[in-house]
Every structure is written in structure tokens, then in C-alpha cells.
Symmetry: C2
Subunit: 677 residues, 2 copies
């Protein structure tokens, strides 16, 4: 019934053969894999300023140094990931690397960090993207959440359709963003160089210091600002995941792309930060601390403020270009998560750490379940943190750095093993590589600690709880699957053929479904056959007995007494008794069932039958046989449209009365022999 709308949304199914990878040249790989990393520039500077702003305007002058620190860190991480690209041409995500080098636990830690982070990437990117739109059109500010959710929905559907992320779609916003930002930096730089002065709209507003910034506190603030700035690093690992999708030589191209990305990011980060400094952008996450701002003043994002300052006003072309492309690339960044999460999910599903369903491709060859789950979780976050980038980012970075640290550590281990099995000649290179990764691991680990300490109270604790939960969940699922696998591998004396089958037909009234069940039961020629009814009211049983006699049905009718008006109990006991009498035999329980077409009709039938079935399944040596009776609503309901290219079913017409096989009393004696045909 949900088919047609589904088809409209996601399109018609694709054959398995249509699955195929397109290898990407560098110029397309950059937008595809780096949009996330590049997009971080949209908020990195802002985060630094927000962090320092807590110490009032005074601290802001430290911004360049913080930015510098971030840049150094970025450079190191890029360097060490370039090596990962070479070491793992098969795709060196944190999970893969740590799985290969640090064993299951570490890899699961990485995996949970990644999973949590993908969700956050989507939430943060969408929220940030919308934030830039609303800076351009302040009228939209109150609708941030609905807009974000709508965008999210669009992304989800796009990915359920399984858009082969055709580089071009990505190329435009990504390169557009880079170009526009560089333009802005250049323009701004020139204006400053020629003695011009830049004034952000918020330049004249003061900032209440949240804390007195003396000694230690100041350091704490700076550290916090730094950790917030580290958002600039998010998305760096994407390339190392995607190595297999690069044109040959895969590794070389990948690491080259990584390098380009690094350079681009560093320049943008530096440029934006400097311009923000010069044009005195003042921004805060609680507007009450903004001094001298007019009532109802909506803060713009830093990048748009800078654009306005550089181009002189927030109605210039540049301003709108920056705002627009920033929003665009941020949404793209979200999309990279939509690629990453389902794939990681499918790997984990195949390894048995997530439900198997995650490893199955939907009918559009996408790992649909992953996409849906991701969208739901991200939507939940956006809604819960009403689409506030700053509040969401607090949760963001931890996961990033957990996976950074783990994969770096993994690489160190990797090189060490390499070192053993390689000719002395190449040892030097490997040693150097190991040093770099070790340094990377150390640094990212350090940052991780800083982030943890400075962010814990600002929401990071959520992640600190979420990650272990995911970790534990995956462990539990794995244990379950393993246990089941053991249980299910048949031994030699595996399953014996039961000696006899005792059929039991459950009847309440003697209506057609019951009659059909009886007919089917008889047709299956069991060793013994009895009809069973549960007596909740004498009257009903009497009428049943009467009808039974009237139609003189050749099946003994057993009446189970039920003093507590409960159907399930007595039947279960009856079955138990049968089993006790002959433990080697199987009890086959025939349950006549109505099949109704409309959902609400379901509520009007079968309630007790369903409960009973559920309970019976827990009894060993029992098989439960539902004999369906399609009611009008179910029959008249159009058959589910045949899957494309499978023949439509011509058997329908040939069956009178909804296909009940009616024998013209072929000597076989119909059940209703009382009124013999």
C-alpha cells in the first residue's frame, strides 16, 4: 500500500548488475571527498572567536595564535593521513586501520566514534548551512529548525535514490566556495594593504567577559577556543576512506588530493581569521553579552560578516555569493556523511556488529537502512538542539579526535610491523613515516584530552556517554550473532524426522475460515486430528456443538475449560499434554485467520490468535499453521503491483470466489457433507 509513493520518491528498483564504481580523477575527487573538510572553514574561525569572546574583547587579539596552532595541527594530520593513503590503498578509514593494527576493541571504539560523528556531521553541517542562509535573510531566523529538517529530508531522499555522487554536482558548490572565499580574502587583503580599513557590523559592539580572565582562567579559555577551532580538522579522514575510488595510481592521487585540500584549507582558515581580526568581528553565543547592540539584532555568521565588511555592506553580490556558497558546501558536507555512514554501517553489519539488515542493499542498490537511521538521528539532534551550530559542535570534535588518534596509533603499529619485514634500504623512509604518525597520534591525543576537559560540561558528556553505548551495543550484537551461529550449525545427529504429527485445529465458531482450516488439516492427513475450542461461555460452546453435529464433521471436537476466560493458557496446556504423551511427535496447530485489507480492521480481529501464535512459537516440537481467509477488503484490495519485469499473475481470474478450490464433491466428501452437494 506504501509502494506507489515510495516508487515516486526513490524511483524504480535497480538490478544488482547495475552496481559499479566510477573511478574519480583528482579534480572530481577533491569536491567529492573534501567538501566536508573544506566546509569546516565556514565555522572554524567563528568557533575560535566565540571561545575567546568569553574572555571579553581583550582576549580576541589572541585569535591569530590560536588559528596558527590549529593550522599546525591540521598540517600534521594531513601529513600523517597522506601516509595512510599509501599504506591502505583499499581504504584506510579509522575502523579499517585500527582493526588491522589494534584489534577488535580499538576498531570498535573507532567505529562508534565514527558512527556518532557521521550523525553529528550531518546535524552540524545542515544547521550551519541554514545559519548562513538566515544571516543573509534574517526574516528566516525563526524557521531555522523546520528549514533544517526539510533540507535533511531532501538529502535523505536523494541518497535513498542513490545518486551516484556525480562529481559535477559536488564540483560547483565546492569550487564555488573556494573561489569566492579566496576572492574575499584577496579583496580584503588588498584593501588593507592599500591602507583601507574594514569594519564588521559588530565591530562597535562590546563583549561582556563571562569570566574575569586572569592567569589560569585565561589559559583555560584559550585552550577551549583552540579545541573549538579544531573543528577545522573535521572531514580530513574522508579522503583516506575513499582511496579505492580514485583513478590509478590510487594512493598517489589520493595523497596528492589530500595535500591540495590541506593547502586550500590552511590558506582559507588563515585568511578568514585575519580578516575577522582586522574587521573586528565580535560574536557571542549568548546575545545578552553583546554590548550596544540594537534590540532584535540577529548575529550573522563570522564568514558572512567578513564578506560584508570586505565588500562594504550586506547587500553586495560578494556577500550573497559567500552566504550562498557557504550554505551550499555545508549541505554537501552533510552529504558526505550520507555516503560514509551507510557504508561503514554495511561493513559493521557484515562483520556482525550491527543488525545484518545494514549490510543489505535496498532496491536502489543503496544501503537504505543506514541512510534512514542516519537521517532520523541527525533530525533528532537538530530538533533537540534547535539547530544551533555552536551547541552541536560542542559534541562534534571529540569523536573526530578519537578516530584521529586511533588511526594514527594504528599507523604507528603498522609501520613497526612493516619495519620488521623489509629490506634495510627502505627502513629509513618507514622510520620517518612512523615518526610523523607517532607525532600525529601524540598531538591529536593531546587535543582529544584538551577537548574532553574544556568541552565536557558543554555537552561533550553526551558523546562521552553515547560512544560507549554504541560500542557496547555493537559488542552485544556481535556476541548474539556468534552465539546463534554456534547454535545453528547442525551436528551430525542434527534433526531427526519426527515419528508422527498430531494436528490440532483451533475453532471458536464454525464459520468458513474454521471449515477451511479443518479441510486443510484433513488434507494434510496427520496421524491424529482433533478440533479444539476454548470454553469461555457455555452458550457459545453449545451453539458450536450444535453446528458441529448439524454438519456432522468427521473430526472429534475437544472442549477446553477456561475458568479465567483466557484463550492462550488452556491451549498451551493442551499442547503440553499432547507432547508429554508422545515426546517424539510434532504437534501441528492449525489456526484459522482472517486477513483484512485495511489496517484498522486488523484491530477488530485476530487479537487472541496473534497472542496465541506468539506464545506457541516458544514451545519446542510445535509447528504453527496459519490458514488465512481473505476477507472482502483484503481480496478486493489491488494485489501489490508486480515487481518490474516479473510476469503479472494470471492465476487470479481462474479462481472463483477468491480462489477457494471448490471440488464438485469429487467423491472426497466435502467438510460440509451434512448438506452434501
Amino acid at each position: 500500500m506504501l509502494r506507489t509513493p515510495k516508487r515516486l520518491l526513490v524511483g524504480r528498483p535497480l538490478r544488482t548488475e547495475q552496481l559499479g564504481d566510477t573511478l574519480l580523477p583528482k579534480k572530481l575527487a577533491l569536491p567529492v571527498f573534501c567538501s566536508d573538510a573544506l566546509s569546516s572553514n565556514a565555522y572554524a574561525t567563528e568557533e575560535i572567536l566565540l571561545g575567546l569572546g568569553l574572555g571579553g574583547v581583550a582576549l580576541l587579539r589572541l585569535a591569530p595564535w590560536v588559528a596558527l596552532a590549529v593550522i599546525v595541527l591540521l598540517a600534521v594530520v594531513v601529513l600523517s593521513y597522506r601516509q595512510t593513503c599509501h599504506a591502505y590503498p583499499g581504504g584506510g578509514g579509522a575502523y579499517a586501520v585500527s582493526r588491522a593494527n589494534l584489534g577488535e576493541t580499538a576498531s570498535l571504539a573507532a567505529a562508534s566514534a565514527l558512527l556518532v560523528d557521521y550523525v553529528l556531521t550531518v546535524a552540524v553541517s545542515v544547521a550551519a548551512g541554514v545559519a548562513n542562509v538566515t544571516s543573509a535573510f534574517p526574516a528566516l531566523v525563526p524557521y531555522a529548525v523546520p528549514i533544517s529538517l526539510a533540507l535533511l529530508a531532501v538529502l535523505a531522499v536523494m541518497n535513498l535514490r542513490g545518486v551516484k555522487e556525480s562529481g559535477t554536482v559536488f564540483a560547483i558548490p565546492t569550487y564555488g566556495f573556494v573561489v569566492v572565499v579566496y576572492l574575499m580574502i584577496l579583496w580584503g587583503g588588498l584593501r588593507v594593504a592599500f591602507g583601507g580599513s574594514l569594519h564588521a557590523e559588530s565591530a562597535h559592539y562590546g563583549l561582556h567577559a563571562e569570566q574575569h580572565t586572569t592567569g589560569l582562567l585565561a589559559i583555560a579559555l584559550v585552550l577551549r577556543a583552540f579545541s573549538q577551532g579544531c573543528t577545522a580538522l573535521t572531514g580530513v579522514e574522508a579522503v583516506s576512506n575513499g582511496v579505492p575510488n580514485f583513478k590509478r595510481p590510487k594512493s598517489r592521487n589520493a595523497s596528492a588530493t589530500l595535500a591540495i585540500m590541506g593547502v586550500l584549507t590552511i590558506v582559507m582558515l588563515a585568511g578568514i581569521s585575519l580578516l575577522a581580526m582586522i574587521s573586528k568581528v565580535h560574536i557571542t553565543d549568548d546575545p545578552s553579552r553583546l554590548i550596544g547592540a540594537p534590540a532584535g539584532y540577529e548575529q550573522k555568521t563570522v564568514i558572512t560578516q567578513v564578506a560584508a565588511a570586505v565588500s562594504g555592506g550586506d547587500h553586495t553580490i560578494l556577500f550573497f555569493l559567500v552566504a550562498g556558497f557557504t550554505a551550499a558546501i555545508l549541505v554537501l558536507a552533510a552529504n558526505t556523511a550520507f555516503n560514509g555512514f551507510p557504508i561503514l554501517g554495511s561493513i559493521l553489519g557484515a562483520d556482525g556488529f550491527l543488525p545484518r539488515q545494514f549490510s543489505r542493499r535496498g532496491d536502489r542498490l543503496v544501503f537504505s537502512n543506514g541512510v534512514v537511521i542516519l537521517a532520523l538521528l541527525a533530525g533528532l539532534l537538530i530538533w533537540a538542539f534547535d539547530a544551533s551550530t555552536t551547541r552541536l559542535i560542542q559534541l562534534y570534535i571529540i569523536g573526530v579526535f578519537v578516530s584521529f588518534t586511533l588511526s594514527q596509533a594504528g599507523m604507528v603499529r603498522h609501520w613497526t610491523t612493516e619495519l620488521r619485514a623489509c629490506p634495510p634500504a627502505r627502513r629509513g623512509r618507514i622510520r620517518r613515516a612512523r615518526v610523523i604518525n607517532a607525532f600525529g597520534a601524540l598531538l591529536t591525543g593531546l587535543v582529544l584530552v584538551v577537548v574532553l576537559v574544556t568541552k565536557f560540561t558543554h555537552g561533550a558528556w553526551i558523546v562521552v556517554i553515547a560512544m560507549p553505548l554504541v560500542f557496547w551495543m555493537m559488542k552485544a550484537i556481535h556476541r548474539h550473532y556468534e552465539r546463534v551461529a554456534v547454535e545453528l550449525t547442525p551436528g551430525d545427529d542434527a534433526v531427526a524426522l519426527p515419528s508422527r504429527i498430531h494436528a490440532v485445529v483451533l475453532v471458536s465458531r464454525l464459520h468458513t475460515p474454521a471449515l477451511r482450516a479443518l479441510a486443510f488439516a484433513r488434507a494434510s492427513r496427520p496421524s491424529t486430528l482433533t478440533a479444539v475450542t476454548v470454553k469461555t461461555s457455555d452458550a457459545e460452546v453449545e451453539t458450536l456443538r450444535a453446528e458441529w453435529a448439524a454438519r456432522d464433521i468427521p473430526v472429534p471436537l475437544v472442549v477446553l475449560d477456561s475458568p479465567y476466560r483466557d484463550i492462550t493458557g488452556p491451549v498451551l496446556d493442551h499442547v503440553a499434554r499432547l507432547r508429554r504423551r508422545s515426546p517424539r511427535d510434532v504437534v501441528a496447530i492449525f489456526i484459522p485467520e482472517y486477513v483484512v485489507g485495511r489496517w484498522w480492521e486488523q484491530l477488530l480481529h485476530n487479537q487472541s490468535a496473534l497472542r496465541l501464535k506468539a506464545r506457541l512459537l516458544f514451545r519446542p516440537g510445535v509447528m504453527v499453521i496459519s490458514v488465512p481467509w481473505q476477507l472482502g477488503s483484503a481480496r478486493t484490495e489491488p494485489e501489490a503491483p508486480p515487481e518490474p519485469e516479473t510476469p503479472p499473475e494470471p492465476e487470479r481470474p481462474t479462481e472463483p470466489g477468491g480462489g477457494r478450490p471448490v471440488l464438485p464433491d469429487a467423491g472426497r466428501g466435502t467438510v460440509s457433507s451434512g448438506s452434501g452437494g
Copy 2:
């Protein structure tokens, strides 16, 4: 798994025989059936004052006249219901009466009015009860909603336990309330008589008139006040419902009780209203209109204010007694709805206007479903209208008067038919009776219109929508059941014995559940037996084929190709093909199923199996056979505790390995003959 807590809450099941009616003497019947009606005095006056208050203090002097009008109405309604008691000794609820005299549609209208009203009774009474508690302890004001919900829960559980409403439980609060109120009235009356003066705490506060009360508007306000005052009539019909529970002579006693109740109510209403007038109680539903009230002043209910005024202060014994008993009787009133709703529901269920489940007694002999639904709906209302009596009452009265009018009209019709078939001697009496009911119908009808007009915009529209919805729903359900009944009555050529059975065993991998399914299928000796697997990946199919060969299973394995990786489609088509080949035969589909113990494990298995089963049931001439395999978690899970007094099941121990019957190769060749035992 939910059994133990359930038992703790509602107690052990009761045998059907334990069902029995206790006949009530008048002095117990009064509290049982009239607590609702009597309790209305707790808010009737308040509603009048609130209504008039909208016109400012000036209009308040009209209060006595409005009260008088209400009293007259009440008298008339009581009179005409007394006749109903005589005419319908079998219980003359609005549904019964209008069903007997006005036909299905009218009776359903009455029924939906009643259903909606029962829900509102519960919501209003609980809310009002809590309001009186909070007047006594203003500190509790902010917790009104949670307290109400808690109370509601207690009521629900009490009624699920099926408290035989032992009159005494009711007697204390009811009589207590009556006595205390009379005491208050007397005391107050004496003080006034001896020239004393009463001052309500709110006497000195003015009231902003919401509208300028000129001419028509004033009339409108008065009408509205009147319609609000009509809440005094709620619950009157309860007695006529309960006639069968009275001691003989039932009708006489019932109508007598009704008379007593009427007198008691009228006196209380008059008394409270007068005292409220004299002591100048000023109350409003939006505190902002209260002039001169100190900040944070919490308005008390009128009855408690009067009590305070009479006894001089809100820390007197009388004050707390009034507050306490008012709260108590109000909660009791809610309880009467808990008796009424499930019974009406069961009648409607039996008549096929509500799901049959409503007509089944739970294991405590209560119509549990009704109780649960009622509690949920009432809770929803309380939460939605954050436990504000005034706002809830707006919805209340309409339903009451719909049922009043209908039952009165029904009575008129009743007398008219009586008239035909009776000796001229008694005609006079009957004519008189008819006049009374006619007048009652007219008056209540009139009030209904007034209420509708004056209340529509104040939330009444919700009811005006809800009632037709319920009505329509019941109609739909009835139609459905009727259609089904027709479909299910077997004709003569009813169901024929299918000629042959084609068994199909679905296998994905060759694990023990599959082997068991195969064994069971073979044991049932079908005409044809094939195993079917759906090919989503070549690898899987190959391994399956290999294992098949290895264990050389004597069943042909059919591989269905599935280009779209969809399991359901191909199987359905296969079944269709089989059916086409031999339309007279039955296709028996064996599905190996895991049975897991923990809910979350369910998510890790059977997803596709379940989908498939659901779809298969829609195919005619098919029976679906689940062959369960109990996994460890399911087997180790303790069996659901045996119902009391049913023998515990001794078959468990006698079954090795979870009761799989393992034959020491009894010449029948186990399925795993490859590695024969």
C-alpha cells in the same frame, strides 16, 4: 514477561463463577450512583459566578436568579428521569431508551455523547478535586497536572482490580460531603440571620469586565452563566442506568433515591450560591482581570472560599473538612464514570459497534479494555488542558444535554406507544408522564442549544467534532462486522477438501532451523515437496548447494533468481506459478523461524521472514507454516508463570536439547543422512 508486575497491580485472576451482582439498599445506592450528581455542587456555583463575572462585579447580583433557573431545570430533569426508572427497570440509560424508541441512529448519537462524556466526567472531576486540594495547600498549585494524573492512575488500577464498588467506600465521602456542606450552609445562614456578616477573601477585589455589558451582551453573558451552571445536572442519569442494582422493588427504590438526590442537590446549590453572594466571592478564570489582588494570589475554589468566610479563616477545621470532602467526592464522581464507560463499551462491543474486545471481561472480571481506554483518554485531556476545571467543563455539558434530550424524547415516544396498548383507566397517568418527559425534552433541548451557542467558541467545538467522529467510527465498525458475518457464514458447498498439498520449504542457509523445517515438512508427507531459496548473491547459493550435496538431502532445491535483491517477490511468484499449475491444490509454505528471548534480539532476525509471511497470507489457497527454532535466549527464558490452579507443565524436563525429538535413526533416515547416526 509483564506478568508479575501486572499481578502485583491488579491481583490474581478471578473465576467466571465469581461474577455476581450485589443488590444495593437505598442508603448505599445513593452514594454509589449519586456521588457524581452531588459532586457537581462543588463547581456549579463557581461556574455561574465565573460566567457572570465576565460582566464585572455588577452582573454578579444576578447569580441567585441564574441558580434558580438551574434548580428549576434540575427539578424537571429529576422528575422525568424518575419516570424512566419506572419504565425501564432493566436500566434506562440514554442508549437503551433511545435504542428502544428512536432507533439505531439516535441511540448511537446518545452512545457517542455518553462515551465522550464519561471521559470528560473523569477529567473534570479529577481536575476539580485536585483544584480543591490545591486551594487548601496553595504550595501544590504548580503540581496540579502530575497530581491529577497520579490520581487518575490510582483510579484506573483500582478499577482494573475490579473493586466491587462496596457502598461503604463511597458512603463515607459522599455523606461526609453532604453533611459538611449542610453544616456550612446552616452555620453561614445562622451567622447572617443573627446580623453577622460574611467576607470572602476575594470580597475586596474588583473584577475588570471583559465586555461592556449593555443590553444584548448582558443577556448573552447571563445565558452563558446559566449554561455553565447547568453542570449541576451532570450525573443525574446515573441512577436510571443502575436500576437493576437496586433492592426490590427496584424501580420504586431507584426513583425514590433519585428524588432524595434531587432535593439534596437543590438545597446545596441554593445554599452555596446564596452564601457565595452574601460573602461576595469574586472569581475569574483569568487572574489578570482581578483588581487589587496581591501578587502571586492563588484563587481558591468558590466552595472553599465560602467555607473560609463562614468559619472565619482558611485554617479552620470546617475549611479543611469542606476542601477534603469536596476533593474526595469529586474523585468518587470520576469513579462512577469508571463504572459506566466500560459497561456501555461492553454493550456496544456486544452489539458490534465497538471492537469485540470491549465486551470481554479481563481476568479480574472487569471490562479491562474499557477501563484502560477511558483512563488514557481522560489523562490526555487533563494534560492537554493542564488540569483546568473551567476549560474542561466547557466541553462537558454538551454531551450531557445531548443524552438528556435524546432519552427524554425517547421516553415521550415510549409513552405514546404505551398509550395505544393500555386500558383507558391508566391513560391519564401515562398522558401526565408524557407531558413531563415532553417538557423535559423541550427544556433540555433548549438548554442544549443555549450551551452550543454560548460555548461553541470556548472549546465546545472539540466535542461537536468528537461526537460525530465517535458516531461515525461506531457505524464503520458495525458495517465491517456485519459484512464479515455475511462473508463467514458457510454456504452449503462451503469448503471442499483440497485434492493435494504442495509443500515448499524456504531455506537461506542449511542451519538447524532449516533442517528441522525440512524434517517437519517431510514428516507431513505432502504430495510434492521442494525446497526453495532466493538467490541474492551467487556465493551464498553456491555454499548452500554444496552443503545440500554434502548432506545429500532427499529434497529438490529450487533456486529463484532475484535481480532486485528482494526476497518476497520471487517467492510470491513461485507460489503463484504452483497455484496456476494446479488451482485445486493447497500450497503449504514451511518457514524456519528463530525464536529469541529478548525483544532486541527480535530486531536482529526474521525481518524478511515476517514480511514474507504477511504477504503470503493474502494469497488464497496457501497455508503458512512457521517451524520455530528456540534459540538459547528463548529456551533459557523462564516459561511464563503457569496460570493459578492450572497444573505446571512437567513436559519440559523430559525433553533433551530443548525438546527436539531426536530419533536414534529409527529406520526413517534422518535428514542429515550424509553423516548418518
